[in-house]
């Protein structure tokens, strides 16, 4: 075994210098601990993901800034730049939260629905164009009913349905509240949102009746104090 005379230690390595003082050492090789071998070619830098996130953040910020500037300079009749902002936020949710993150299905669906609702609500509130009514009357309840249908299907076929039921119930209740608000406040046409309200109400009640035990257990688990 090699010995470093300066540090007075024996060294089990095939390297020719002391790991403490870096002075040259002589002696036979004796690597008694085959623990790790360094492969310098394989080492990776860790900042690629963060760099991309920062880059897209700057692009988003710049896009919003330019839109605000053009919106104000062109003296537009309404604040369409705010709709752009909501859309950018929704795009972030879609990419960073729904597609790339390892969050639960519950969180992903909840954020998706909140994102869609935010875009619809902002467009309705700010846009003077007739399409806003179209968004509230058809697009939002359509997306909502589609989500309910997917969740109902998952409640029957998913392997993890027991743990999903509680999350689905929370989303159904959220959708129900939103549809009630739409029906009783801004949606004068009402028909599709009425259907949406009925569908979410049935889904909520059905989930409680069929999965009470699982929901109760999940509730205790998630809210444990």
């Amino acid at each position: 075994m090699k010995k470093c005379e300066i540090c007075s230690v024996k060294i089990a390595s095939d390297k020719h210098y002391c790991p403490l003082c870096y002075n040259d050492i002589d002696g036979e090789n004796a690597n008694e601990y085959p623990l790790t071998e360094i492969k310098t070619a394989d080492v990776k830098t860790k900042h690629t993901g963060r760099f991309l996130a920062k880059l897209f953040f700057i692009i988003s910020l710049a896009t919003f800034g330019i839109c605000v500037f053009v919106n104000i300079e062109s003296k537009g009749s309404y604040l369409w730049s705010m709709i752009v902002l909501t859309s950018i936020v929704y795009l972030w949710i879609l990419v960073a939260h729904t597609i790339l993150s390892k969050r639960s299905v519950f969180e992903k669906m909840l954020f998706q629905l909140l994102g869609v609702f935010a875009v619809v609500a902002t467009t309705y509130a700010l846009s003077p164009v007739e399409t806003d009514n179209w968004l509230v009357r058809y697009v939002y309840p359509g997306v909502s009913m589609l989500a309910v249908a997917v969740m109902c299907l998952m409640s029957f076929i998913s392997k993890n349905r027991k743990s999903h039921l509680f999350s689905f119930l929370v989303i159904y209740i959220g959708l129900l509240v939103i549809s009630i608000i739409l029906v009783f406040t801004i949606d004068s046409y009402k028909t599709i949102n009425n259907v949406n309200m009925l569908v979410t109400a049935i889904a909520s009640v059905g989930t409680v009746l069929l999965g009470y035990r699982s929901i109760h257990k999940e509730f205790v688990k998630v809210f444990h104090l």
Binding site: M1, C7, S8, V9, K10, I11, A12, S13, K15, P19, L20, C21, N31, E32, Y33, P34, L35, T36, E37, I38, K39, T40, D42, V43, K44, T45, K46, K102, S104, K159, R161, K162, S163, S214, K217, K221, V222, F223, H224, L225
Partner: protein, 426 residues
Amino acid sequence: MKDKAWYKLDNAANIYPPTTNSDRQANFGLTAVLTEAIDPVVLSHAVNEVLKRFPTYKTKLKRGVFWYYLEENTKPFVVHEMEENYLGHINEKKNNNYLFKVYYKDRTLCLVVYHALSDGNGGLDVFKALIYEYLKLSGKNVKTEGMVQKSMNAPHVPSEYADTFNAVYNSGAGKVKKEKNAFKTYGSHFAYDGFGEIVGKIKVEDLKRVAKEKDCTVTVLLSAASLYATYLGFIKNKKVKNKYVTALVPVDMRKWYPSETVRNFALFVRLSHDFEKEVTLDDCIAECKEQMKEYLTKENLDKIITFNVKQERNVALKLVPLFIKDVAMRIVYRHVGDNLHSYNLSNLGVVTLPDSVSKYVTDLKFSLAPSYSNNNHIAIVSYNGNCYITCTRNIVENYLEKEFFRILSGFGLDVELYSNYWEATL
């Protein structure tokens, strides 16, 4: 379809999920060198068998509304070939959501555990069971001989995964002493993911002889030597404002309170010395001995456990949603928890394996992951008459290790070193 089992995080584990990320890990590793090359297929089977015996390890970390919790993980466990950065952040996605990893390479078997699962002693129980099960499945004639503590044949009992902090909680005890901010070791961080590791192998007998000469325990001797090494390496003749060096030394509470738990059940002693004045190593040893004696009393331990459990039981704190707790805990930990110690020094003690198992295990090693806020750590374990001292660091400068092992060789100890020469990657 069976309901998935779930477990609350124990009192000590609550701090880890919000405060750990890829830069600040809370992992520890146990490594064994066997006499024969490891077969990864047999190892995979062994791990999956062991997981049946230790259900809290067969879990994934989930977010609740108020607290994190562990939920049964139904995915199979996959073993990995040894990596250079084996103590690094456990990527849950690549690890089937498990909070521990098992590595193999040639004759080396390594278990890396995220601290939210268990402390070093809990991890050691699992590691012993894994070695035993691997050898058994490899066709070796091995027996537990009562030393693989949680016998693989016996069913697991709830006391093995209980949060013992809550069980020994005594509502009457008082406040704990406020600690001073400690000196932090400094240097240039490695450019690549990875850490410098230097392992020193010393005969336990020789180490005990020196400790006896100095009239202290091995832990006190090594702690004092590390404090003095920090002083020599980072403070002496350098412009440093805070010269208060603190080693954070975990103490296994299973020796003080009856407990079978494989989860966290350790408290920390802060062994400190203020190097404002010129001191000798003997002064450090005397002070560490005194601090250890003062700290390790039943009354004091009761006080600390009660203080910690009271924080968790505080109704106002309980009702704060997790996303706010996350931010608050991160800030508090960064400004209070992290600043109170210079490095960790953890002594797992003497590991005994059944004779039928130990003949297949030549070396054992215990190591702690260095993090961005704690550049150096020292982990110690004794096995088969040898003491293995593993110094890990994430800075290029090896001042602590250099002075530490020079101090030990200065005692007349025969020190054998192994290094991963991570600085060579620069």
